[in-house]
Subunit: 257 residues, 2 copies
Amino acid sequence: MTSARPSTPQPPSRRIAEDLRRQIESGERSPGDKLPSERALAEAYGAARNTAREAIRILAEQGLVTAKHGSGVFVREPQRLFRFGSDRYSLKNRETGLTPFRLEAKKQGKVARIEVPSIAREKPPVDVAERLKVPADEESVVHRENHYFADDEPVQIVSTYLRWDEAQGTLLMQPKTGKDGIYGRLEELGHVMTRVRDEISARMPTPEEAATLELLPGVPVLEVLHTSLDQDGIPFEVSRYVHRADQTGLLYELPVE
Amino acid sequence: MTSARPSTPQPPSRRIAEDLRRQIESGERSPGDKLPSERALAEAYGAARNTAREAIRILAEQGLVTAKHGSGVFVREPQRLFRFGSDRYSLKNRETGLTPFRLEAKKQGKVARIEVPSIAREKPPVDVAERLKVPADEESVVHRENHYFADDEPVQIVSTYLRWDEAQGTLLMQPKTGKDGIYGRLEELGHVMTRVRDEISARMPTPEEAATLELLPGVPVLEVLHTSLDQDGIPFEVSRYVHRADQTGLLYELPVE
DNA sequence: TGCGCCAACTGGCTTGAGCCACTTACTGGC
DNA sequence: GCCAGTAAGTGGCTCAAGCCAGTTGGCGCA
């Protein structure tokens, strides 16, 4: 793809970045290793400190290194992925009495914690309104926001939207929703989850998301817009999952139809 | 989430970036609009050009703007997502005679083009070897690399791995694999696709991927590690899809088991 | 009219200097 | 033996200046 001879001479900052990248990928520098300081790098390459700094910025953007203020720049540890599977909706998980998140946390020997910062009646975002088939210009939904932590590290932000007319006055408006969680209550309302639709995309986080998830520069987020359909094909719940991509993966296992 | 009063005074570069971000999100600056030049921004905020430049870098990293050398900095257009569905493996799509990619391209009125840069016997990467259940230290697989384009814009890179002992001497070693593609040939070898496992993650692209996909800074990639299982639960094909996340989404629709 | 050149403007990248905030390790006093 | 204070080293961020390279549009020549 690139030309036979590297005809275009790379600018110094990129050359330094590529040197370091090669060293990291070849294992010459291992995860956790400290890189030379910006000042040392600059001197070694006969460049200005800003140029060395720019090289490190490039690597950080690629997710290869992390700078720790006052301490140094370190090769990033490969993260064990927390997997969220298509079976998170599975009925058989009900039997464990654990929510899918707690189950996955337990599998990895971590302590799960879930915060519910807000539950409120709201106007839905347009993409949610479309999928839940409610008007976008009225306060037609209940919005439940949840933050999930594993060993006190934030892992995902989940916004769940339910029809206001159904949720009104029920446990769905409370932080504790009772046995089997919201899906238990929704079943009592006549909605048995039969099919799900997950729309997946990836993007860079907003500043708010970066703060909430304590994301380092160069870490994207995975966004899943989830729709639950009941036995009649009626959408009764829409959720937006925002996962940190450095610690999270998704797993879908499905039959070919 | 943030403190009541913004006690920590943001550095100038961030302040400029946040100003611009707010203007973009409020619609004050629309997609396609040109931002003030670095020099103009610097003067307007009483800062050095480098500082204005840093602000723009921050926005670019968030995927909000794109710089065009010699021309200006522009608010990025929201991209229509090219959706790859779980039905890409579906048998019913066979009837159209089109591959899933060509089908999706046609839906969006774009011209699909597929390149096959290489087909070679290789040692598999460890993650592929694990899933295909072949040794990682031998040349046990055939690696087919494909590049997909829509209207000549690169959209995804796909690496397909097949067992060498099965593919050897068949059409699977050729660029043109005949009717119904590789899955047609694999069926003749006794593998009917019955279940699929897709492992999804997101990350920043490597420099090579950024070059091949013509990615702008601040655009992550979606990686799908796909495994096909046959009627006996035997994995017979593993593919790694690398999608550009600014134009691509994934759609999984599945029954709850 | 049409085309080619060129000036002005844009971002890309570097330099070298300086100040600040945070971390770490050592050192001296209690 | 402990602990507080400090000095040295680190990244975070800015400044002011300069050169380069790509783009654009207008001006003037043929």
